[in-house]
Symmetry: C2
Subunit: 397 residues, 2 copies
Amino acid sequence: MQIIPSFNFASIPNIIFGPGKIAELYHIIPRFGNNILFVTGTRSIKNSGKWDNIISEIEERGFNFWNVSVNHEPSPQLIDEVATKFRNKNIDLVVGIGGGSVTDAGKAISAMLPKNDSIKNYLEGIGSKLHDGQKIPYIAIPTTSGTGSEATKNAVISEIGPNGFKKSLRHDKLVPDYAIIDPEFMLSCPPTITAACGMDAFTQLLEAYVSSKANAMTDSLAYSGMQHIKDAIIPACSTSALDINVRTNMAYGSLMSGITLANAGLGIVHGLASPIGGYFNIPHGIVCGTLLAQSTKQNIHKLEELGSQGKNFLQKYAKVGALLYNEESINEKDIMKQCSKLITILEKWTGDLKIPRLGTYGLSENDIDKIIEGTALKNNPVVLKKSEIKHIVLSRL
Amino acid sequence: MQIIPSFNFASIPNIIFGPGKIAELYHIIPRFGNNILFVTGTRSIKNSGKWDNIISEIEERGFNFWNVSVNHEPSPQLIDEVATKFRNKNIDLVVGIGGGSVTDAGKAISAMLPKNDSIKNYLEGIGSKLHDGQKIPYIAIPTTSGTGSEATKNAVISEIGPNGFKKSLRHDKLVPDYAIIDPEFMLSCPPTITAACGMDAFTQLLEAYVSSKANAMTDSLAYSGMQHIKDAIIPACSTSALDINVRTNMAYGSLMSGITLANAGLGIVHGLASPIGGYFNIPHGIVCGTLLAQSTKQNIHKLEELGSQGKNFLQKYAKVGALLYNEESINEKDIMKQCSKLITILEKWTGDLKIPRLGTYGLSENDIDKIIEGTALKNNPVVLKKSEIKHIVLSRL
């Protein structure tokens, strides 16, 4: 019989999932009030014509609304400006429609509207105050299948530059009230973004699955997410970008990645993504995608060295290897073979999806020590030495 | 690639799971206030000494508290009396500690405290009003591994007798704010109750798994629940009743059953349990346990007749059969063989756990027509004729 370690599992949003489900937004809004602040991106949703549809539905129903646009990963300044501008407007509901930057921005704005203060004071590792979770109700509507932000309790806020950082505003109550996941919104997502987001989602699922904090619930949801992404990730970025079923599978995997990372934590890839994203203007999904295969290889190698202590995690990696090769069961004596298969397929995805190396964005060997200084292991299944982490980054320059 | 049908998934409680986790209750209470209404059973928790511990911790911290006891499935009268008595006492938090009847009673009381009205007016199929979800915050602490009520959005209210019923008060917002699942509270649960509750939990998992409303998320959680119950259910009722790991596996399965039934619905076993439980004083878990194997047999038989239309559900039944026999994968040509194995093991459990037949409680052939009249198919994977439903009950008289 399996031993179930103790765990906490945070509340999740009310999830409304499926093509065309945006229509439910208009029925939900009146539960919260009449004054809506929309937080959107600057491009995709507006180009797709979907934004015009939403606005005409909103106007038809006589709701009051405002719209702020976010065109990059949200900075503390952006959140403070928007929160200050709308603090006295009696906003009843914030609705964030966009990629991870946008849905995170909406989450942070909904949390800062009731505070007469800067978000910097509440960021983990930056400010000294604890957010109390009080917020204006928030609905997240993702337009990419990547960050899973629609299901998480944190918003990532970035300041880019020499003293840059990527830090979270986090509270159990910041999980969105509703997440509407409508894969039709993802049909117009271009291949490069679909690829980066898809690799981010898969990284989150795999890191949550082998996390030292994983539990039976996160295991089952992370496995389910990987099961749905595995055959969709390459088609979604190529021949089948307009296939709603492919997009639906990616959206489901991304949603599971958000739920599982919020409850099981992440590993070394996200440990590295935080300082790299702070110092360099590289999309988060690219950082994760480019580091995933090499980090997995390093983890597996280190777990193998550990012997019996590492076995449980190696079995999990092997199970994912078997899943990706459509082999339902794993054989005790084939564990290392299936771990190798996992690395091979992750390397293949990185190549097929043309995920760039870090050097493309100006990152060089001279930057590595500073990056390693700012890297946390998070809930990585095994402790890695600085030299081992360095090796991961070097191999992806 | 799998096709993912659209779905809604309701918010779940903040879950705190593991032996000894009751200790977190005292840290959570101050988030809600100082005045606590405890709803408890009359026996087990008080005999176990756990109640004295809780009270001394509560008194030490200076909280105000009241306690009401519930000794059977809650009736409308009971809920109305308690809600009336405590409506003006400024209760900040309701805490239900007990089996499904108690945690359901607590849930209903927390929902009726803010209403100056009888619960009968809000019960599905009985009253004409819709509950708006407003309630006093509620924490559920189960002491049995059965109903999964700690994770559901409904409270079952029963009136027993010739015009009896078993109906739900239901709203998405009635999902408890917190569910504390501490398997230490289940160690003193006697074998007969452990068996009935365990069969109820397994029934809920299997019915949710093959529900016509099942989705990818409920599938993964229901499968995970069955995976953990399968090797624990017999030991928990016999040799290993005091093994905390066995109780933890049962508690996890029960929790998963609550989450999945709330989101995927149930089938014919629960369709029958509602009128049977209304007319006869038979514990709910016994009704489910005694009907499970025969209902599964009937469903599988009917699905087989349907041919290709029934295949998807037969594959799911076969997958559970394989799981219970520790076979990881199912072979396309062995589907019916694995379905038979599932029926065999369910029959074996019913025998090993000595789940009584319905006749033991006075139910006779003369009662069947009335029962069938009140039976709903719910989300059963296949439509059953009245004669087929009758056959299920007859075979378990």
